[in-house]
């Protein structure tokens, strides 16, 4: 069974895609990253993989090879599809859903920047502008019970997963109506209802957490016998994290125990001011998957439809119990690392190159070219999102800050810290339990 990604082939009909472009597209050329792996290579691999993308030989039968850039929707300049109604990658509803989600993410982050400079938001704020295709591409395929684990750049993951803009904005303002009652902040978004398991400040910290959530899914199915528990976990993290020990520890254990997890690398080429190429001995992160026995996939992270195709397969694999996948999304953050980062080290030419590949513009172009929706409908979505964000800001502004008594709350789930008694109830709730002298 050598084709774990075969369903991708089934979806992508030859007529829809660019034909025979070989090698890196011209747009990827830039002094800093002349090696062609960066930038979509714009070709669907239907069978024989070129040598450089074939995985290291592995004893495992399944899932030990890599695929490069599945589809090539946006980059196509010649209108090859004009002859007959193409098989589109998305329906109108799906397309508009993706568009709306990405616009929500972008507008929200822009508003965060404004609010930060007006002093309403403080501390460390890391914005996601430019990377929306990754969040939308993956998270919109998940169910509510699936888990998402993120890093400090987590606002848009929270929004895509379903946390309301009001709750996220209030949290950022430090108000008690925030999703974590103002106790977490920008870097620590948690939501039990939407299964967003954080929000972590330390890079690499979320990866074992995500692996643990995937372990729980498998445990529930196999040990607790919840036969329909096929929940998948998606872990998002950056290129800098891929040099961290915990990343490798978890690739090992996830593959060893065939856990239902997708490791998504948001490779935006920069870890604060450290270029990925300066920090990594082998910058091709997708290659590290096969070394541990799972497929490693590289995809153009500026194109939501491509990301979505890869995500469908990776999430499907996990749901079917075939194990983990490592997906490297080549993407870019339009702003600095955080709002405090002067962002002086990045080459303006590089920024311009990626700005030209803005995922929202690209999706809009796809929708319009394929007549999935009218300009008016897209504008209506833009307007609606503007109103949602305005409302979120007003709500957050009007919300009260936490009361003084909230300082000491929620340290423990156990209300007073005395544990659970033999009868299974909290000891502090037993009226006969008093503090005071120990039992002798």
């Amino acid at each position: 069974m050598s084709a774990a990604f075969s369903s991708v082939r089934a979806v992508c009909h030859p007529g829809s895609f660019a034909g025979e472009k070989r090698g890196p597209p011209a747009t990827a050329a830039s002094g800093k990253f002349a090696s062609g792996f960066l930038g979509s290579s714009g070709k669907v691999w239907f069978g024989a993989l070129p040598a450089y993308v074939r995985a290291a030989p592995s004893a495992r039968r399944r899932g030990s090879f890599s695929v490069v850039a599945v589809s090539d929707v946006v980059k196509e300049k010649k209108p090859k599809r004009s002859s007959s109604p193409p098989d589109l990658l998305v329906t109108k509803e799906e397309g508009l859903e993706l568009y709306e989600d990405m616009v929500l993410g972008r507008t929200f982050e822009d508003m965060c920047a404004q609010m930060y400079y007006r002093g309403k938001m403080f501390g460390f704020v890391h914005l996601y502008n430019g990377q929306e295709a990754v969040s939308t591409g993956f998270i919109k395929l998940l169910k509510q019970e699936d888990c998402v684990v993120s890093t400090y750049r987590d606002h848009v993951h929270a929004l895509s997963k379903g946390v309301s803009s009001r709750a996220v904005m209030s949290e950022l303002f430090g108000k008690t109506t925030g999703c974590c009652r103002g106790q977490g902040g920008s870097m620590h978004m948690f939501s039990k209802e939407h299964n967003l398991l954080g929000g972590f400040a330390f890079i690499g910290e979320g990866i074992p957490i995500a692996t643990g959530a995937a372990f729980t899914s498998k445990y529930r199915r196999e040990v607790l016998k919840e036969a329909d528990c096929d929940h998948v976990t998606v872990a998002f993290f950056g290129d800098g994290t891929c040099n961290n020990g915990q990343f490798y520890e978890c690739l090992n254990m996830a593959a060893l125990w065939k856990l239902p997890i997708v490791f998504v690398v948001e490779n935006n080429l920069w870890a604060i001011g450290m270029s990925h190429l300066r920090a990594t001995s082998d910058p091709q992160i997708w290659k590290k998957g096969p070394a541990f026995g799972m497929p490693g996939v590289h995809v153009d992270g500026m194109d939501v439809l491509k990301v979505r195709e890869v995500a469908k397969e990776a999430i499907g694999r996990a749901r079917r119990g075939e194990g983990p996948t490592l997906v490297e999304c080549e993407t870019y953050r339009f702003r600095g690392h955080s709002l405090a980062d002067p962002d002086e080290l990045r080459d303006p030419a590089e920024k311009a190159h990626y700005a030209a590949r803005d995922p929202i513009v690209a999706l809009k172009k796809y929708i319009r070219e394929n007549n999935l929706a009218s300009e008016a409908e897209l504008k209506a979505i833009d307007k609606k999102i503007d109103e949602v964000i305005e409302d979120a800001v007003e709500f957050a502004d009007a919300s009260p800050p936490p009361s003084r008594s909230q300082l000491l709350e929620n340290v423990f789930a156990d209300p007073k810290g005395f544990g659970i008694g033999p009868d299974g109830r909290y000891r502090c709730e037993d009226p006969k339990f008093t503090e005071g002298t120990a039992h002798v």
């Binding site: 888990c147 684990v149 974590c180 009652r181 103002g182 106790q183 977490g184 620590h188 948690f190 939501s191 039990k192 299964n195 398991l197 954080g198 929000g199 972590f200 400040a201 330390f202 910290e205 074992p208 957490i209 995500a210 692996t211 643990g212 959530a213 372990f215 729980t216 445990y219 529930r220 196999e222 040990v223 607790l224 020990g245 915990q246 520890e249 978890c250 090992n252 254990m253 060893l256 709350e409 929620n410 340290v411 423990f412 789930a413 810290g417 005395f418 544990g419 659970i420 008694g421 033999p422 009868d423 299974g424 000891r427 339990f433 503090e435 005071g436 002298t437 120990a438 039992h439 002798v440």
Partner: protein, 347 residues
């Protein structure tokens, strides 16, 4: 309620190791969400044989042998706790837990607070803590003070088999992260266990100390192995006319300040005993608690007996000097008992 250690009504004796094993067995049988994870817990039957027989009984999905990846598997345990299971993560010793301390503190202890109650973390981190015999500096560190300073954690330190049973059950049933500090040299110690303690729903309260021996002249607080030394010291002191009250802390966090203060208000003198390093140690915290709440009751300065302020040496004689011995406790107790006399003379 059983009195004292129930010597006269003890149903049987049990080693600390057997006590811990019995708790893991009972709790895993009672709740299928409880599972054990760590190095050598399965096929090797546990590095110190605490998990003996569990793999055979519960299978490899519930007794999970991990690769040597503390940061990774501790994080996996925390993630499993976030999403609904009740893991027990075993560290071969708490020295190795330093490779995972980010997860213990940042993703376990702080999460209920950061998420304002959204995500609770019902996890237990357990394993041997403190000095063993001749294992050198990197294997002998006591972490009670480190974990005891962190809000969001509960830190338990059993001494006897009954402590081990009651506190580990309380820890596993608890909805919060618990650091359970055992002691390798105590695993083989045998203690009488009352019938009540053998019951499968026996739990001890977290945050309550136990008065192991009542007395009226000096209070000695200790935890883990040092409780045994303190009790022996109390015997020696009794022969010299000093009646020592020995408190087994059982819980470093929350610390049972009310019990300790009540005892010192009765005896007016305090000696704290611990194995760990002196600076910022458990004794420092207890001393300050007395100064804050019971200063007027003290008849002598507080004494703390701790391990020496050096990394643990290897040579047997040096190691003995680096750890508290019974004589040290006896001498300290005598000092606090006589010290008030010269001060009154100069007043």
């Amino acid at each position: 309620m059983m009195r004292f250690q129930g010597y006269t009504t003890a149903a049987k004796e049990m080693t600390v190791r057997e006590a811990l094993n019995s708790v893991l067995d009972e709790e895993m049988s009672a709740d299928p969400r409880v599972f054990l994870m760590g190095e050598e817990v399965g096929e090797y039957q546990g590095a110190y044989k605490v998990s003996k027989g569990l793999l055979q009984k519960f299978g490899p999905e519930r007794v999970v042998d991990t690769p040597i990846t503390e940061a990774g598997f501790t994080g996996i345990g925390v993630g499993a706790a976030y999403y609904g299971l009740r893991p027990v993560v075993e560290f071969m010793t708490f020295n190795f837990a330093m490779q995972a301390i980010d997860h213990i503190i940042n993703s376990a202890a702080k999460t209920n607070y950061m998420s304002a109650g959204n995500i609770s973390v019902p996890i237990v981190f357990r394993g041997p803590n403190g000095a063993a015999a001749g294992v050198g500096a990197q294997h002998s560190h006591c972490y009670a003070a480190w974990y005891g300073s962190c809000p969001g954690l509960k830190v338990l330190v059993p001494y006897s088999s009954e402590d081990a049973r009651g506190l580990l059950k309380a820890a596993i049933r608890d909805p919060d992260p618990v650091v359970f500090l055992e002691n390798e040299l105590m695993y083989g110690e045998r203690f009488p266990v009352s019938a009540e303690a053998l019951d499968s729903s026996f739990c001890l309260p977290i945050g309550k100390a136990k008065i192991e021996r009542e007395g009226k002249d000096v209070t000695i607080t200790a935890f883990s192995k040092m409780v045994g030394l303190s009790l022996e010291a109390a015997e020696i002191l009794a022969k010299e006319g000093i009646s020592a009250e020995v408190i087994n802390l059982r819980s470093i966090r929350p610390l049972d300040r009310s019990t300790i203060n009540a005892s010192v208000r009765k005896t007016n003198r305090l000696v704290t005993v611990e194995e760990g390093f002196p600076q910022h140690g458990v004794g420092a915290e207890i001393g300050m608690s007395i100064v804050e709440d019971s200063f007027g009751y003290l008849d002598a300065p507080i004494e703390r007996i701790t391990g020496a302020d050096v990394p643990m040496p290897y040579a047997a004689n040096l190691e003995r000097m680096a750890l508290p011995q019974i004589e040290d406790i006896v001498r300290a107790a005598k000092r606090v008992c006589y010290r008030s006399v010269p001060m009154a003379a100069t007043a």
